[in-house]
Subunit: 335 residues, 2 copies
């Protein structure tokens, strides 16, 4: 049994294909009665329009491509949820393209790829608009950046500067020497995010404001092992000082903070006393482990990104818009 086409529906409803198409797209007034008939036929035949044909016909395919870094973190799961919810309401489908490495990106940029054939593009964390430009790949589709910021397209972003500031301001109120751990992200010129850079700027600004400064800073790449090693190195260094403890550490990602908590525990240090730790992300486990951290409204950010894109798809033509979201500090036992 073949899948029903718009022809079948038209026949079943005793109308022309044009009419069916019109009810499908909520077009110009269709007589309520005939609309009902068509809707019933659609239901009867369990018909769903073919997105490829839609796209071919010059219409829309009702699919959005999402380009994002490898999804090994909770952040992107939450982000996808926010995006999904918004797009689903608007009856759009999502196709996800994890940017594993540069060669994958190259392929996505080849215009034959589905990624490039969707009605709209969501780029998460990375700002690839530059690349598109260089390749003279004028993006015909509207694009929105999420978790990243640029002047020349819509974006929905977290204010990591404020996040860093909040962390710094809070850290400044705590006793003992100050340390910070940052995330290394310069894998490749293309794959660069300013997220951690901004957290750092904000953090330092707040510290300066309070007349304090960090004793030392550390950098780790974003993986379990690096987090552990850095935690070890940091606490080794602190322990080697005359009066290293108490100290306060701002770890710019919960992954790093978690490793620090582990390491502190191994050394018999009391959290919130010998060592105070501030994370960033508010991962699902943060509450249970009592980690003081910055919570980000990730879903909301994704949802908003979707709205921005949907308005463009709806025909909105205006200057690029930027929706800013603020993280907020959640104080728990670790500090």
């Amino acid at each position: 049994m073949k899948t029903p086409t718009i022809q079948d529906v038209a026949q079943h409803a005793g109308v022309g294909v044009g009419t069916v198409s019109r009810v499908l797209n909520n077009h110009t007034a269709v007589k309520p009665a005939t609309r009902e008939t068509v809707l019933k036929a659609i239901a009867d035949l369990n018909y769903t329009p073919n997105p490829h044909a839609r796209r071919i016909a010059g219409g829309k395919s009702y699919t959005i491509s999402v380009l994002l870094p490898v999804l090994t973190t909770e952040f992107y799961a939450r982000l996808l949820n926010g995006l999904e919810n918004a797009f689903q309401e608007a009856r759009y489908d999502l196709a996800i393209f994890p940017l594993l490495d540069r060669s994958r990106l190259e392929r996505y940029l080849a215009s034959h790829t589905l990624a490039y054939q969707a009605d709209g593009l969501v780029m998460a964390t990375y700002n690839l608009t530059k690349v598109f430009h260089e390749r003279r790949l004028q993006t015909r589709q509207p694009t929105v950046l999420v978790d990243a910021y640029t002047d020349d397209s819509d974006c929905s972003y977290m204010d990591n500067l404020t996040g860093g500031t909040l962390a710094g301001a809070y850290a400044a109120t705590l006793p003992g020497t100050l340390y910070a751990v940052w995330v290394e992200t310069e894998l490749d010129q293309l794959f660069t995010t300013r997220v951690f850079e901004e957290r750092r700027t904000g953090f330092h600004a707040a510290l300066e404001q309070a007349g304090r400064r960090v004793e030392a800073e550390y950098t780790a790449s974003f993986d379990t092992l690096a987090a552990r090693n850095t935690a070890t190195a940091l606490l080794d260094d602190v322990a080697a000082k005359a009066n290293g403890f108490p100290c306060t550490v701002f770890a710019s990602a919960d992954l790093l903070a978690g490793a620090l908590m582990d390491e502190a525990r191994v050394r018999g240090l009391t959290l919130g006393q010998d060592v105070r730790i501030i994370g960033f992300d508010d991962q699902p486990w943060a509450a249970a482990r009592g980690l003081t951290t910055l919570h980000q409204p990730v879903e909301a950010m994704g949802y908003e990104a979707a709205q921005l894109l949907l308005s463009r798809l709806g025909g909105y033509r205006g200057p690029p818009r930027a929706s800013r979201f603020e993280p907020h500090l959640i104080v728990r036992d670790s500090s």
Copy 2:
């Protein structure tokens, strides 16, 4: 400037569209000379065929859908790599659909979704063929299961039974009492994987074979927090026993093993002496932390899955085939 179509190429090359299409699809003999001309025209115009049009024309879209669980683990990154490599060689594109929850699955199953419109389907870890059947959604596309096993479709899977057996056989040679930690996966009837069940079966069989048995078993869901809590509970229990140490623990996933290593360290237990730990996965950090574990040829498994699907796409009609891969034990310091 519009993107070039097959018409433009034909015109530019001074041939008919049919000829262009033929060279595009490596069809029946095209005179080498004209083939060259066409190829040059294609290059000149930077032409790439429109996948939607291809699909509509009754042909193929050269895209494969991959349905997989949320990508928060290294396993799926590696799997995707294997799949990508194989499909790329065959000039197929991949669209990834993370199965966040049941409602998402429902939507993917709605036939209008792109997921369902691809030339082929790869289902990772979960066997969704049952669901397809129940819905009477006869999958028109060829489907391959990876990291899962079923009788009625091609699959490329890891022999987790053997993995468990290897772990059990090795554990049986170690001194002290035996413990095991399993992963809870029964989130939903749909989302069920037999992976851990099989590891368990193999493990017990090997133990029995060696005339040994586990003192106690534990179950944790697959997340950092649960892993920690279980590790704590397990070591608490062991410590409460008269002669609990030395002991050996088979953690059926490296995530769990890592948590155990942490916890053991906190308690001042010596790994490979007081506590011996065997993991499963060989995560990137396992070597550095000296974790004895089962290594899986994940990329190879993905690559093979792709080959199976490609052969079906190439017209192969035969009974379902199953490609089996074996994990192997890597002994390190933790045991």
